[in-house]
Symmetry: C3
Subunit: 344 residues, 3 copies
């Protein structure tokens, strides 16, 4: 697997930044400040790594303008080093997926429309009336249900399951094990039938995913009950995220791993939801809202800002003593009011 | 894809309810009150949508008897509008799965017994002595391990993994990415061996799933250590649920997304467990118990009723101030007692 | 499926323990004290089951030396009955996986190296330059990406997805639905581009998994951004665990189901992390640390010991009253200080 290499000047041009140092310095990879060698590019995006900068052996480092004089190596100078690093990382990526053609083991319904530039890997199964756009790559073992569409530039890694009636926009990346379009969890209790239990509500809606979305591994996104579940443009989802039926997520919102959004909740644009957050159903969350890790969101939030829930971590012995008191809190508050009354 | 359509009178008969209005009104789909058009049926199950009822363009609406006069369209009149909607939804479902036959790409051991009315999709792998019942549908990419049985009427969506020795009852639905019969997390610590670490306890039990169960996408249900893990009849599980080894779940219990039940815990009948609940191991939960969202259940619960845990959501600034005080709670309680003593 | 059987004396020798009773007693399986019959072996590892010991019908029981006289059956006598039970369980396991050979439906790149003793099941897809070691078993539907290695003795159950550039050590077991090597969740915010949103950081690192590791079902382990994500030797992971990019987990650490470790966090050796724990990113956790169920770990922990977070479970009515007071905690603490001042 041969990688990419660029001169310092080429990198500066490709990344639309300036450079300081030898234009011809050859760079053949990216590494952290601590581990980079002479042929590698690194970056300083967080001031707490300034010490490491001084001792780096990197061939070049992406730095902010005020760091150029502190940099022992050649520099790429950017107002936004982290963003420049992100762009540089794409230049050094060696694409794993073979491109082009339909593997003979793929099982594709004759009514499906597959762009000639699409890649369909081994053991893929594609249903009726499916449309696969230009330059789409479908990894091994993926299953695409009837009447679903994957627009141009999409990339599905191995073993993704897409049900019927799912519309996926342009340049969407979906990681392995993820399931799109499974039935929403809709059941009506039926105490009066012979057997008791639950009557299933057929999930007649679909899923609509915007453009430039990335969905991590092991996620589940349910189809809508009547209307569609909707994921906006440029949404990014980490791994093991659960999106229930009829959820709507606004453009540019990012959600970290293991978060879950219950049914019919609407989330605005440009929100950042940390890992392990759960949002209960039928809520409305505005734009530019941030939830910290592991919060349980039980009320709608209109106003932008940060929200949290939970009780903090301690050593278990201390925690036990305090947790027991949590169960007396209402009593404590009332006793305090009594004390205050007596002192008046 | 042509859908189903019914006259108002036909629907009333199929749903075992009465109707008010033009018997011949043609209904070809279901939609919410807000989005339904003249050829569609809607429903009013929650009084907070009464305003929407007045302006709906639906051809017909499922309503409770006291709502008939407020309904601007034809009506289906039901004592339980939500339950009637559930049943109606099934009438309008267009089944995605092709039915009938064994796809030539399926790999089926010669010792397996496949009912002639079963459907085995592309790239399915079926092991030794497996029994697949009448009218079962196994979706693309599913793997069924040796000596497992799927009784009549079952539906496994794409890419479900069933290990060996798993017994699945009648009319069970399992969504994509779900794993049934993986090893329970059983290891004995072995401080005295050369390498340290853990000695695996072979998981010799199986999994037994009752009739009319539905299991969502991305769930994991482990096999038992010695006895079986047991899921009762008519249990409904949402997505990304983890059921550890030797758990037993009683009939009719429903569990929402991302909940987890640790090893050997027994849960009663007719329980409703909200999303993100975790129940630790070796507990016993009685019948008709309800756990609210994200609760951590650390003790057995005999008595029916609702139980909760956790600390509530606030803006992060307020939350931080309060969370710090949580760590002083025991101290606060003791100081309050001192104050009370002084005031006596 | 014929199982294994042993005489009592054979078992004692295989398990390196002594026996009390008839050497020729034939044992053909393992069962709990409550359900074991005359031909079965059971064990007593927890004193709370002493009562059950008295009435067991087991043919033999693994007991500690001080329990021999209380044991109604033949005995295997061990200082560590639970560890001996773990070892015995392996003697009675009937291996489900067929061993030997490459199924004709597997799709294997011609550049891959497959040991002659390896087993490649149906519908497996293996990429370029992959190396599969001696006696490795790859279950049906697994996909192994380019340039990945699975060392000798590994076992991948059905439908595991391994991306490119993943190095898996010797005797590693991976359960179904698990994904290794998916992209870490790395995006740089780009407020200044035309469309807004996120710029993806290509994940150029890999994943390195040690020897004798077991990974449960439905887990996700992301590849590193620049360096590798690293799982030490003899680590055990339960189901639905999320390991983010550049996490490092020390040898012998065990993590129970549904836990999640955020990016770049380093965890020491011999830690035990209970179910549902979340650890935020960029932390350092020392050796021999224990986190109790559902803890959220927000700070580095150097010192070995047990740590917890959260607020305890109550009936919902009581919990609501106390939870409301949590939001007044800072106010309560200040009012208490006022009261104390007045009383001085």
């Amino acid at each position: 697997m041969s990688g990419h290499h660029y001169s310092l000047a080429e990198l500066a041009e490709l990344l639309n930044v300036t450079y300081v140092g030898d234009a011809k310095t050859l760079i053949s990879g990216l590494a952290t400040l601590a581990s980079a060698g002479p042929g590698q590019l690194s970056f300083l995006a967080n001031s707490k790594y300034q010490k490491t900068l001084k001792s780096t052996l990197a061939g070049a480092v992406i730095v902010a303008p005020d760091m150029v004089t502190s940099c022992p190596s050649h520099c790429l100078v950017s107002e936004q080093p982290y963003l420049t690093y992100a762009r540089a990382s794409q230049l050094f990526e060696v694409l794993d997926n073979d491109r082009g053609g339909i593997h003979p083991s793929a099982v594709i319904d004759s009514s499906a429309t597959i762009a000639t530039t699409a890649t369909i890997a081994a053991n893929v199964v594609i249903g009726k009336n499916v449309v696969i756009g230009a330059a789409v790559v479908i990894g091994p073992g993926c299953v695409i249900g009837n009447n679903s569409t994957i627009d141009e530039g999409g990339l599905l890694h191995a073993n993704v399951s897409v049900y019927h009636g799912v519309l996926i926009g342009r340049s969407v990346v979906i990681h392995s094990g993820t399931v799109i379009g499974s039935d929403g969890f809709g059941f009506a209790p039926s105490p009066d039938t012979e057997i008791g239990g639950w009557v299933k509500i057929a999930q007649l809606g679909g899923v609509k995913i915007g453009d430039n979305v990335e969905i991590g591994a092991g996620c589940t996104i349910d189809r809508g009950a009547l209307d569609d579940t909707v994921i906006g443009d440029r949404v990014i989802l980490d791994n093991q995220i659960q999106i229930a039926h009829n959820v709507e997520i606004g453009d540019n919102t990012g959600i970290a791993g293991c978060s879950a959004i219950a049914g019919s909740t609407k989330i605005g644009k440009n929100c950042t939801i940390a890992g392990g957050v759960a949002i209960i159903g039928h809520l409305t969350i505005g734009d530019n809202v941030h939830f910290t890790a592991r919060s349980l969101i039980t009320k709608s939030v209109e106003k932008s800002g940060a929200y949290s829930s939970g009780a903090p971590m301690q050593d278990t012995k201390s925690w036990r003593r305090n947790a027991v008191r949590f169960m007396q809190l209402d009593n404590i508050a009332k006793r305090l009011s009594d004390v205050e009354r007596k002192l008046k």
